[in-house]
Symmetry: C2
Subunit: 147 residues, 2 copies
DNA sequence: AGCTATTAGTTGGCAGTACGAACCGTCGTC
DNA sequence: GACGACGGTTCGTACTGCCAACTAATAGCT
């Protein structure tokens, strides 16, 4: 029924419920780490996403599932903090590539490492085989789910 | 490096990365369903949490990991929409129990069902045994992780 | 009983998030 | 050269979430 009933606590959860709970934990880890590094979760996500190299606004909005207008503001704020710059594309003067500054790249790395570290630490609570199974199964599921 | 590099796409993901990705998918499902029902994800979460019965503000803020002040506003907005009411506790005239209205309870149920349905549907992409293993392993992990 | 410390919840201010609609400039095409 | 499509930004609005300060009621201590 509810997903939080006492009766469900100790016993078996639904697959869906387990995912939702797990998602919350991930969100909390994300929030905690981001906060420790002085950025918001969204800003941290943006930084992490850019560590692979510059990306254009449209592509970025697709990746982050954000309206372009929302992204504009987000990039503004992170740019204002000096973690990234908009590099105008010489080929297309409308477009711009969002690119990390040195400082931004460092921060992105740090945050990403820390988040992964904590999640891996969390995963240490279960046997290696289980963890590996979860990983592969989730990978498979994610590959199937249009994202 | 980034968690979104092309090299990581097809091959093996980290456990942490898989969790993060999964978390995003769950968030999107949550956002989509909530939107379809005309509420925000946070409001939907609040409704779902209350389907098990009325809860006090302090307990609720603990469950939702929200400052009480943040919760006040959230409850205000949902109350304004007629989905819940604050029932003052006769035993403690400071406290109040947040309780769903009929309409709110219906909405909460609907949203919860729909979210679960979509996640289960997503899980249909992988074999039953894998799904079951994920569920039990995650349950175990969640039980260990202080939440 | 009386005083204090604690607790439950609210208010106000602030920064950030996110959407939609309207907009500007550039590009590609006819 | 005009036009539609595209890349981004701006504006207005609603919501989120934190902190600090506050009110009122309870609980504890003497």
């Amino acid at each position: 029924m509810t997903g939080t009933t006492a009766t469900e606590m100790g016993a078996d959860l639904t697959f869906a419920t387990a995912l939702v709970r797990m998602s919350h934990v991930v969100q909390y880890v994300f929030a905690d780490v981001s906060r420790e590094y002085g950025v918001t979760p969204q800003q941290a996500q943006l930084l992490c996403m850019l560590t692979g190299g510059p990306i254009g606004m449209t592509e970025l909005s697709r990746l982050l599932h954000l309206e372009k207008s929302s992204l504009s503001g987000l990039v503004d704020r992170v740019e204002r903090r000096g973690f990234l710059t908009r590099v105008t594309d010489p080929r297309d003067r409308r477009a711009c590539q969002v690119s990390l500054t040195t400082e931004g790249a460092q921060l992105g790395e740090k945050v990403h490492e820390e988040i992964c570290a904590r999640l891996e630490a969390l995963g240490a609570a279960i046997p290696d085989t289980d963890r590996h199974r979860i990983t592969t199964a989730l990978t498979h599921l994610l590959a199937r789910s249009a994202l």
